[in-house]
Symmetry: C4
Subunit: 250 residues, 4 copies
Amino acid sequence: MMDEISVRFLDCFKKDLNNPVFIEGLPGIGQVGKLVAEYMIHVLGAEKVGEITSIYFPPQVILDEKGLARLVRNELYLYQSGTRDILFLVGDHQSTSGEGHYLLADCYCGIAEEVRARRIYTLGGFGVGHLVNEPRVLGAMNRPELRGEIEAAGVTFQRDDSGGAIIGAAGLMLALSAQREMEAVCLMGETSGYIVDPMAAASVLAVLSKLIDVPVDPTRLNDRASEMEKAIEGFVESEKMKDEELSYIG
Amino acid sequence: MMDEISVRFLDCFKKDLNNPVFIEGLPGIGQVGKLVAEYMIHVLGAEKVGEITSIYFPPQVILDEKGLARLVRNELYLYQSGTRDILFLVGDHQSTSGEGHYLLADCYCGIAEEVRARRIYTLGGFGVGHLVNEPRVLGAMNRPELRGEIEAAGVTFQRDDSGGAIIGAAGLMLALSAQREMEAVCLMGETSGYIVDPMAAASVLAVLSKLIDVPVDPTRLNDRASEMEKAIEGFVESEKMKDEELSYIG
Amino acid sequence: MMDEISVRFLDCFKKDLNNPVFIEGLPGIGQVGKLVAEYMIHVLGAEKVGEITSIYFPPQVILDEKGLARLVRNELYLYQSGTRDILFLVGDHQSTSGEGHYLLADCYCGIAEEVRARRIYTLGGFGVGHLVNEPRVLGAMNRPELRGEIEAAGVTFQRDDSGGAIIGAAGLMLALSAQREMEAVCLMGETSGYIVDPMAAASVLAVLSKLIDVPVDPTRLNDRASEMEKAIEGFVESEKMKDEELSYIG
Amino acid sequence: MMDEISVRFLDCFKKDLNNPVFIEGLPGIGQVGKLVAEYMIHVLGAEKVGEITSIYFPPQVILDEKGLARLVRNELYLYQSGTRDILFLVGDHQSTSGEGHYLLADCYCGIAEEVRARRIYTLGGFGVGHLVNEPRVLGAMNRPELRGEIEAAGVTFQRDDSGGAIIGAAGLMLALSAQREMEAVCLMGETSGYIVDPMAAASVLAVLSKLIDVPVDPTRLNDRASEMEKAIEGFVESEKMKDEELSYIG
């Protein structure tokens, strides 16, 4: 029988990292976490060091533009600098079952522990159900003493719904890493939840970059966010005009 | 691989209890069992002694008002007195799968056996689909000889549907504890099933308090029940007035 | 962890049976198999010898009229005579999952093998989607050479749909017992599929009684079937009258 | 407990094959893969050498026209010639669960590895949502260097949707065989996805026959495709006439 979850590191990968943090950016609400992590991997030139496959992922393969097939997977990318290494977790999908969510999130925490990550950052969107002009970044963490530092970086904890829940890896990793005595912080960009949202991603990137003290040039993500903002404004404008036309008729 | 079910007792917890009973009050119909158990924990000043987490719970974390994340969990609280100790089981959720329901309920029975509980009480609501003025408490048990004692405490066994079923932990614990040769009783407060129901909870509390011979001041639960009763009366009254107005029109 | 499937025989049960057959009558289409097996148990005075519980059954307990709770279960009943013993399998429910269906059906075949059953009979309904006046009994088996004997007992193999499938224990036991080199026959009474159907059950009983050479007084089942037949005729008649009345209006 | 997946080879089967390829043609979109593989088995006179059953298949038995029951299964057929042996995988169903899809596909790859297959071909339909006049054959593979050879045989890689996914065994076997260092190619005939499609199957057969260098007389499959083509033309024609009639009325 094949393993339920399989983690493969590339031979190049040495687990002895320099002051590392672990950043999770898997698919989720508004694809916010995915956008941030993949953008950082691209801009920082992080290199792929590992792959995770699992029977809890959807039972399909993904084709590249040349017709080459590969399993649905999650990937690990490593960025190394003189002062701060980053291990990124990105990928195609999260688990299709509740039990798989737990087992995979615990596996991810195990990897973070193995590389002795100083902290885990999980990234996501915070769906509010309407368009957001200046998306805030909401926070959660697994130790109360982390809050001051996070707030100082511009994160808010004022949710309209008191309490609340975080579903999937971004949430579970907070709690499962606590059992391994690791620090973890979740950053969630406010988003409508209806679209892939680079604006929310730009907000999260700004905060995260400050927190991990690794400068990341946000230009291209901001450009993409501006384009989307204009597109949405155009759409809203045209909807308003339709309403006005209708009121002439009425 | 992480455990499917994980039980953690706090260090303070000594399993050598004094004439103990085990009270289950997990979420369910009308949240009746949850209301009763949490109220008793509060009024009696019971202390937390353990936690249960499981891959069969929903795959999410719950945030407190400060943004601190924790796994979905069930909790154990202990009340100790000179004559009667009580171990309470309360929590966020029940299992998301049928198989998980069985495995968790059996785990709970194992805990009750470990502390040598004299009896298990499982609490719940009995949904009747309409508002109930003076909710009765219906009973079920895992040994026929328990019935007399339960009836004497004010519990009725006259269900409109003969037979019937009890779904989830409140039901399964009755039967799975029988296999461990433990006594178990289920108390269900009549409730519409549409709302969180403190009136049904107050009825269950009165009976349970008598059965375990532990006085619990019901004042605040009764107050909450009275408030809801008035709110409902007001609502029903205003609906009637609408009907009368409509009959003038008609 | 509790067992996925648990089989408990009563102490009174001796597995050394006399020329035994195994009869499965679990819930299914029109409850036909259940009606036949439970009727035979009642009329023949078969005695309970075992119980099967499983995490693949629905996660609930069933209450008797006195409020006594028990797990959802399947039961084994034994009828003993000078020439032919019968082990009956009846119960509350079948599996809630596909995997559970396989594991339970294989467990049932294991029991039949353990008592060295000469043959397994699985009973069920054959849903045709409309009322049936004189329900035929359709057959299936796990060895071609059994067909002649079954047809001689009044079973037909002329299905309107060539081929077809049998879902659940009644089907799986045919195939899984073949792997244990046991004979198995499935008898299906034609039924609308909309109602609990004693007429279909009476047809199956007549055939089965002949095949196992155990006379079973069918009077009370036939009476129940007649009553239902009259009730249905009355209903059909009244519907016709409504149609006629409508045609007067039209 | 029965095995989750069970593979049984007939005694006649010797695993020492001559230059073998493995061809998967399980049920899927337009039943294209199934049509091709079953047609080849028939025309080449391949012989059955094995069976696979699993608790991940639907929990039912399938009856033949004589009432003989068998488990839902997948089957292995072997064609042997002087220069090229072929092991075919065909069957009734694929897995009912995501996890089962992975475990079964990995099991199939294990069989291909066991017989030292030079290459795996997985066959399927490529659903386009509309009728296709001259169905193309789209390709995917698990090694980039295979593309040239496949294109030379008439396969296209120009999908309207760049990238994309292949669900089920036809996809998973590509990726899971790569982990065993085996070559694998997927051939997908364009099909509406609404009907069992012999036209798409004929296109796939032509390409596959060339790739494996085993001539397969396509006459009867082409005949069936022509018949269906005419039936569809007739249908489309009659629909057009209805439209014209309607336009006279209009």
